[in-house]
Amino acid sequence: MVNIILIIALPLLTAFLIPLFNYINKKLPSVVVVLTTAINLLIIIINYNQIILEPVIIELGSWQAPFAINLYVGTLELISITVISIISLILAVYNLNHSNFASESKFHTLYLIIIAGIYGIVMTGDIFNLFVFIEITTVAAYGLTTFNKDKGYEAAIKYIIIGSISSVFLLMAIGFTYSAVGSLNMAFIAAASHLINPDLIKIISLLFFVGIAFEAGILPLSIWVPDVHSIAPSAVSSTLSGLVFLAGIIALIKIFFSLFVNPSLYIYLMIIGAISLVIGELIAYQQDDIKRMLAYSSIAQMSLVLTIISVGTKYAISGGLFQLFNHAILKTLLFLTAGLMIKYAGSRDISNLGGIAKKIPLIAVGFSVGSLGILGVPFFNGFVSKIMIVNGSLNAGEYLLTFLILFATVIEMAYYLKVIQKIFFGKISINPHKIVKAYVPIIVLITVVFLLGIYPELIIKPLNQAAGELLSRSDYISNVLGGM
């Protein structure tokens, strides 16, 4: 048993040692990033069997739970950190020699900080700590956005302004919660939440939603997403779209299912999610810029996850979580391949990517696998989660929601198949640029997609356990607080 806090501490340590490594050898930082993420994955694998049996609580400074910050790793957190570590390792391998800024050590520093922040958001058991980790993640993301010299600064400014406003609302929520409960510990707040005035809970929930939904990519607050995701370097787009959104949704789930359980609020979440889903898909359909299209598709997918989780049954929650993790894997694949296609063709427009599959077949196949996975074609990992989502909403009697989800899938199919048709059968009209082909990350990601598609039991069993844990929060409270 290795202390699981190392997965936060190690990236933070190496992040600030990167300039030193860069001083020794210019090629060293990218190797160090790969090593760090690999060690993280190793630590999680070592601990996996133990945590799946019983949640691990790490009390920092060895003070008892309500008085100090603690980290909580249950099944949900365990699956999330496993997925995060796998994807961050794949992206680190991609960064090894596939980016023109690989020589810039600052990029690697920020990448490690963002990874540490994401782990923190997922694992923390303290709401102020949650705020700090969200800020760590977003400040690193602001920096990473500016690496594109072309339009990065404009996107970063948008991101900073919206991020700062949201963080004010998040702090306000934390302040009100503290003044109502007298503690910042999530389990303690959950235990005391029935004592808070219900109207105050509604206000606090709204403030939390405004504060975190910006991070999770729910539409009214995520107008920065398309700019930042389409302009940032591919590896950063993948991180933001796959991992930061994942962490944001996990934080929202924790707030609404562990902290303040108020089923009367779920209907609002469902409505916001459904509207954001349909609007996101409709805007994605109109995009000509391939990365913008993927960014709007991310918004729609996150809204789908939020809606289906707010249905609130165990089956629907595990379906939504499965979709969340599938989306992280698939969007990483999509953004990487889209980035390579853009570099190869020298253009971001879908109409200019015609026939690219004949020149760089593996990358085009990777993109298609990602698209078909998002659509939920059988044998791809999205299939099982889509089935679970549709089943879950039908079983809960939400027929309108089911209709909207299927309607959104139809729009999704229209624009993804349009791109696939273009890159495979379109007329070749590009003058190729030289690119470094990234075979290893793409092949690994495709393997993962098919592995989860053909053998979904691998993740469904722990997901059911996670959904069960989410719904039985008295266990969570007694786990953290002991017999208090």
Binding site: F128, V132, E135, V139, Y142, G143, T146, K151, Y153, E154, A155, A156, I157, K158, I160, I161, G163, S164, I165, S167, V168, L171, M172, I174, G175, F176, Y178, S179, L184, I223, D227
Partner: protein
């Protein structure tokens, strides 16, 4: 009147400060003014947090030779610790934002967001 002010000036004032900042962010066209608005919002939230832990006539929660037992009225130290963290984060974000603004000014020679392509919303 004085009672009312004493009771509500912290809460009302800080929330007013946040709203003024938000108004500035939404209506101003100049990037620097937008960031002044953001900074006002930060200040407002810091005042709000401190006022949540304020106890009238309370002492700083430090044991000294004269204040040496629990019978004294202490203000809550946790919001103050939170505010310190939040100030640091606010300053970091402000510095980063101003750095990016300098880059934008070098590129466009203007700070007016209505004239900067890619910043219209």
């Amino acid at each position: 009147m004085i009672d009312f002010l004493e009771k509500w000036s912290f809460f009302g004032g800080s929330i007013l400060l946040i709203l003024i900042g938000l108004y500035g962010v939404i209506t101003r066209k100049n990037l620097i003014k937008i960031f002044i608005g953001l900074s006002l919002m930060d200040t407002g939230i810091n005042v709000l947090l401190v006022s949540l832990g304020y106890v009238k006539g309370g002492f700083a929660p430090i044991i000294t030779s004269t204040i040496n037992n629990n019978s004294y009225n202490f203000v809550d130290p946790i919001p103050q610790a939170l505010v310190l963290t939040s100030i640091v984060i606010g300053v970091a974000v402000l510095a980063l934002g101003l750095g990016v603004i300098i880059k934008i000014y070098e590129k466009y020679n203007t700070l007016d967001i209505s004239k900067i392509r890619g910043l219209k919303w």
